[in-house]
């Protein structure tokens, strides 16, 4: 296995993150576990991607991504205990990302 490395720009990171989170929100179409499970996995992917980005040390602003990753962690736990709160969390996550990406555009 080669160690060529894989470079992901910060803009691509946010693009992929928003794709995952929006897909998670749009796929949550019911209240049953199996209906929400695809969204859960996508949020898990968003959290893992955020943690990879944090571990890389290549982010200009780590605080927002740290906060986002923590929110994903809490969101994942929600599905077991409160499905309505989980779907609300998915919707809020898209808002949170849009706000941050808009802020980054304005810089």
């Amino acid at each position: 296995m080669t160690e060529k490395g894989l470079l992901l720009g910060e803009e691509q990171f946010y693009d992929l993150l928003s794709f995952l989170v929006s897909s998670a929100y749009l796929m949550a179409q019911g209240e049953e576990l199996e209906e929400l499970y695809p969204s859960l996995r996508l949020i898990d992917a968003a959290k893992r991607l955020s943690n990879f980005a944090l571990d890389s040390g290549g982010l200009d602003d780590e605080s927002w991504v740290t906060n986002f990753s923590n929110k994903c962690e809490k969101g994942l736990e929600l599905m077991e205990i409160d499905k309505e709160a989980f779907t609300e969390f998915l919707s809020d996550s898209t808002f949170m990302l849009a706000k941050e990406m808009k802020r980054r555009e304005d810089i």
């Binding site: 928003s18 749009l26 919707s91 990302l97 849009a98 808009k102």
Partner: protein
């Protein structure tokens, strides 16, 4: 252009040429939208036309079903008269937006512009990006651009399978 031919030949376009649409064409398209039938003639539609490259890119991050950059996007919203909406009223506004979307798609086609009607977007993100007020509801989005593909017509169920006479399930006989 013959209306029936336009209805039958219009396809949803998901690949676009990198070519802008001029404002005159966009205004023709919006003009057709505002002539759509609408409940109570409330004219509740509000159309947000997005053409700036930065705004389009930001928005598409929250529309995971759109995988090619269109020349323009029209977000069709309703600004209801009522403060609180009953379900039936909400559906009424949604229907108004859907009919306007059809006028948009058909008029675009008559101008050789492709389109695709989209419902798959994260509405809270959309509200934030486009600064849509609380009392305005985005219902649909239409992508627009010069077609970069020529899709084959998909099959449609025959009239006899989807049409009944006088009561549901009773065969349609001419």
């Amino acid at each position: 252009m013959d209306l029936i031919k336009t209805i039958q030949e219009r396809r949803s376009i998901r690949k676009y040429k990198d070519e802008p649409i001029d404002d005159i064409s966009v205004e023709k398209i919006i003009d057709a939208a505002r002539w759509a039938p609408n409940a109570g003639n409330y004219n509740s539609w509000r159309f947000i036309v997005i053409t700036s490259a930065a705004q389009k890119k930001l928005l598409l991050n929250f529309c995971p079903g759109i995988d090619d950059m269109p020349a323009a996007l029209i977000v069709i919203c309703a600004k209801p008269k009522q403060k609180k909406l009953k379900e039936a009223t909400r559906l009424m506004y949604m229907a108004d937006c859907a009919i306007a979307a059809q006028n948009i798609a058909l008029t675009a086609y008559s101008l050789n512009i492709g389109s695709c009607i989209v419902v798959s977007f994260a509405d809270k993100a959309l509200r934030e990006i486009l600064e849509i007020p609380e009392d305005v509801q985005p219902y649909l989005m239409v992508t627009l651009g010069y077609p970069g593909e020529t899709p084959e017509p998909p099959a449609r169920l025959p009239i006899s399978e989807i049409t009944y006479r006088d009561s549901y399930g009773k065969e349609w006989v001419k």
